[in-house]
Amino acid sequence: MLDLTHETPKPKTIAGARHDWELVIGMEVHAQVASNAKLFSGASTRFGAEPNANVSFVDAAMPGMLPVINEFCVEQAVRTGLGLKAAINLNSAFDRKNYFYPDLPQGYQISQLYHPIVGEGEVLVEMGPGVARLVRIERIHLEQDAGKSVHDMDPNMSFVDLNRTGVALMEIVSRPDIRGPEEAAAYIAKLRQILRYLGTCDGNMQNGNLRADVNVSICRPGAYEKYQETQDFSHLGTRCEIKNMNSMRFIQQAIEVEARRQIAIVEAGGKVDQETRLYDPDKGETRSMRSKEEAHDYRYFPDPDLLPLEIEQAWVDAIADALPELPDARKARYMADFGLTDYDATVLTAEKENAAFFEAVAEGRDGKMAANWILNELFGRLKKDDSDISQSPLTPAQLGGLIDLIAAGDISGKIAKDVFAILYDEGGDAAQIVEARGLRQVTDTGAIEAEVDKVIAANPAQVEKARANPKLAGWFVGQVMKATGGKANPAAVNQLVSAKLGL
């Protein structure tokens, strides 16, 4: 069983002019399903195509066109639900959300208001070793993405590209359980991590494949606890929704800025209006999107072009059985099986590619040693090159070969670092490099002894000093290592130096 006991982090407090305020945050995360084709049409989801190239007549809402659902997208929503320990609804249905916008060709978005495919779940968001927030998930539903309007190509016209229209999104709706900007960012990061482990969304925030609407409100200390006891929202402040955020940094900034705006209003005796706002990172402020508010009557009703979506428990069970190990479980396993620290396990499980690399290296080797080499040497070098594990020139087999040489005592740690650099820059096999370049560690005591004798004989003054202060013996070790080009076995050198000096 997973040990997920943790302490709850303190909510973020902002000091107002009069008193302290706490933040309450809920999020609606839109995660693009990693499918080949769209939710209701056979057009491609590929990013970066020519305008309107990935558009079927269904996406363009040509007269008489009808939606047909993509099974893979349904499966990914179920998989995501299972990954978030959520209830899967075997019966769900699609509704139309009606509004007019040029990038919404049908005049409605097909979504799931009344009967979502996934019900309540949860996400554990670590804020540090042993400290975590459990964020409740209210629901996940499938819906269509909208197209894209380009406003800067012409002074009087907007240009509409429907490539994105109809791409499948999973909207993951949290309860207002997030209590600060850092928690919000950590929540997104955790969600992204889980989605990527599941393979249901590529998590690419830059391309907009993962983005969030953030609901922010403020309350006095103590009010949130009352809400928790009663689930009565009246204990909380009026919330504003900041739309369409696709950067963790901006999400944090926007929450902070929005909370301060609300505090200023309330402390001045005003009232926060419930509305949709947009974050402007250049100005560092949120502003109202009145245009969206104007006709805020979506007239949801069940889509008559689609029948209710019924799925079988057996199908759900099969998806559950094929679920990969998820980050929490994997981290716990790394700590238990490999003796890794919480920190090291966290870093290695952050991206599934890291974890896969680690496991390949650790297979049949010392896990801690593998972790150290990956975290310190490999990640250090990748970071320096502004690269990541997916572009690592070093394979797990290469690094594993290097670690094998260290474990066998064939090379010292210092030489290993040199070999690592050669492997990284030039490629090759660690054992061959060591052999070809004569880097093998000298373990022949006779040869080492001769070197020790030479150094002692050449430095009588140092010998005197070392005999008075044994700590100085290290100088002799260093000299011997230098003389052997680092190839001498350091343990053997140490032992011989001590013996010869009579320490």
């Binding site: 008489g64 047909v68 060709p105 049908q106 005049g107 409605y108 007239r299 009703f301 008559p304």
Partner: protein, 496 residues
């Protein structure tokens, strides 16, 4: 050489083609001539003579191989609601002005695949919203039938008015129609033709301009019941592009036409006896009952208690769906876009485009639909109507479970009325035209209108038979028995 080839029924033409008595091209040319001479009926609104002749020649070649489907070489008209590749498809609306689809509706494609020859597109009420073909952007279609020597122009009914007029006037051998609340059966009854709305899901809706998705069904409009059986078979079948299309085999409906209805139980629903129903309709219904009894059927009185609420439920559900289905007509991707004034933005573009592009009836229904779905009214109107719909369907299920094979009703509450006669009436009076037909759409059942007699003024009247779901074969056979017993052979006198 055969005469008056355009007057042939589908089955006659099919058989003649197989006997090599004539050619598809000859029949097609006869129809094209008849169409050109029938401008006064305003039935065909987009003609495709070159395409028709080309297809007819291809059909003749196929027929010559001796292996051709029933519909091969038979010229038909296609309702303007069907999208046809490369041919204007406007749904009778200004908002689709200039729209030429890059795709072909599944139903018209199936007909084309079988070798049927499209003569052109047929007039209809705008977006199929109407019962008189008076809401069309093309102007009224005119019924070839007249009240004796009275020259008053009559409606062919609606929304498939052009289809009904064209078939009745022998401009084509048959036509496609669509039926959301009675739009095949009411015009068929008004023009002395046969029209069947199959079970919901029998014909694909893909490529047919949507009015109310949960109610819309395509069907054939023909000169005889046999023709309806032949053409329905060609139009039917599962379509993976329509999620509501039924994955069921399509039987040979024509083979079901034995005319033998002995031992069948025919229900007469008492709720269809409406206050103020004209005597002639009443008498027709009684005669229908007697004809079926004489043919050996067992007649039982039945009750469909929620009938009265079908029309009000329909006028919530259909406009609600339409308000959403018609949101795509926004002037962005196809069709009409209003000329804009200086400073007009996107909202003005929408509002002006839709005000100019939609006629008054469509505007009215879109707005009613918008209203019944709007915040605070959804449960009171839309959800309530859906619950009533459940009850209406249950009424039918109950009588079918009790052994009723088909239900006999009048098709319409009156014969064809004069164009313009309802102009000053409130919209609800026009809606009452669908009072006998709309229950069938709400319950998703098959229904057929068969001509069964003439009224005193010489206008055709139709009876409606309602069947069990997916049992169009048995329904057509019952209609076949009525058709034979009624012996309806009248044709409108040619005045156009």
């Amino acid at each position: 050489m055969m005469e008056d080839l355009n007057r042939l029924s589908l089955s006659e033409a099919r058989d003649a083609l197989r006997r090599r008595d004539t050619t598809a091209e000859a029949i097609t040319r006869a129809c094209l001539e008849a169409i050109d001479a029938a401008g006064a009926l305003n039935a065909f609104v987009h003609k495709t003579p070159e395409l028709a002749v080309a297809r007819a020649r291809a059909a003749d070649a196929r027929l010559a191989t001796g292996d051709a489907p029933d519909m091969c070489g038979l010229p038909v008209g296609i309702k303007d609601l069907f999208c046809t590749r490369g041919v204007a498809s406007q749904a009778g609306s200004r908002i689709l002005e200039g729209f030429v689809p890059e795709y072909e509706s599944t139903v018209s494609q199936k007909l084309a695949d079988d070798g049927a020859v499209m003569l052109g597109k047929l007039n209809m009420d705008e977006f199929a919203m109407g019962s008189s073909n008076e809401t069309s952007v093309y102007g009224n279609a005119v019924n070839p039938w007249r009240r004796g020597n009275d020259e008053t122009a009559l409606t062919p009914g609606g929304s498939s008015g052009g289809s009904a007029a064209a078939v009745a006037a022998d401009l084509c051998l048959a036509a496609t129609g669509t039926d959301t609340g009675g739009s095949i059966r009411q015009p068929a009854a008004f023009t002395g033709t046969v029209g069947i709305k199959p079970t919901y899901g029998r014909c694909s809706r893909w490529g047919i301009v949507a009015f109310a998705s949960s109610l819309d069904q395509a069907g054939p409009m023909t000169k005889t019941v046999r023709d309806a059986a032949i053409m329905l078979r060609a139009m039917s079948g599962h379509d993976p592009k329509d999620s509501t299309s039924a994955q069921l085999p399509v039987p040979d409906f024509e083979a079901a036409l034995t005319g033998d209805i002995r031992g069948k139980t025919i229900g007469i629903p008492r709720e269809y006896r409406m206050d103020g129903m004209p005597d002639e309709i009443e008498a027709l219904w009684t005669r229908g009952r007697e004809m079926m009894q004489d043919a050996g059927a067992r007649i039982v009185d039945i009750s469909l208690p929620h009938t009265k609420y079908a029309l009000p439920a329909y006028y919530v559900i259909a406009p609600a769906e339409a308000s959403s289905n018609l949101a795509r007509y926004d002037g962005v991707r196809y069709g009409h876009r209003a000329a804009l004034a200086q400073g007009d933005g996107i909202t003005e573009m929408y509002e002006k485009t839709r005000a100019e592009g939609f006629g008054p009836e469509v505007q009215r229904r879109v707005m009613i639909g918008t209203y019944v779905l709007s915040a605070g009214f959804y449960d009171a109107y839309y959800n309530r109507a859906r619950k009533v719909r459940t009850l209406i369907k249950r009424d039918f299920e109950t009588v079918f479970a009790e052994g009723v094979d088909a239900i006999l009703t009048p098709a319409t509450p009156s014969a064809a009325f004069g164009l313009g006669e309802m102009a000053d009436a409130d919209p609800v009076r026009m809606y009452l035209n669908d009072v006998f037909t709309v229950t069938v759409n709400l319950a998703g059942l098959p229904g057929i209108a068969v001509p069964a007699g003439l009224d005193r003024q010489g206008l055709p009247l139709g009876l409606q038979l309602i069947g069990r779901p997916w049992e169009e074969g048995a329904l057509l056979n019952a209609a076949f028995a009525v058709e034979r017993a009624a012996g309806f052979v009248a044709k409108p006198a040619k005045w156009w």
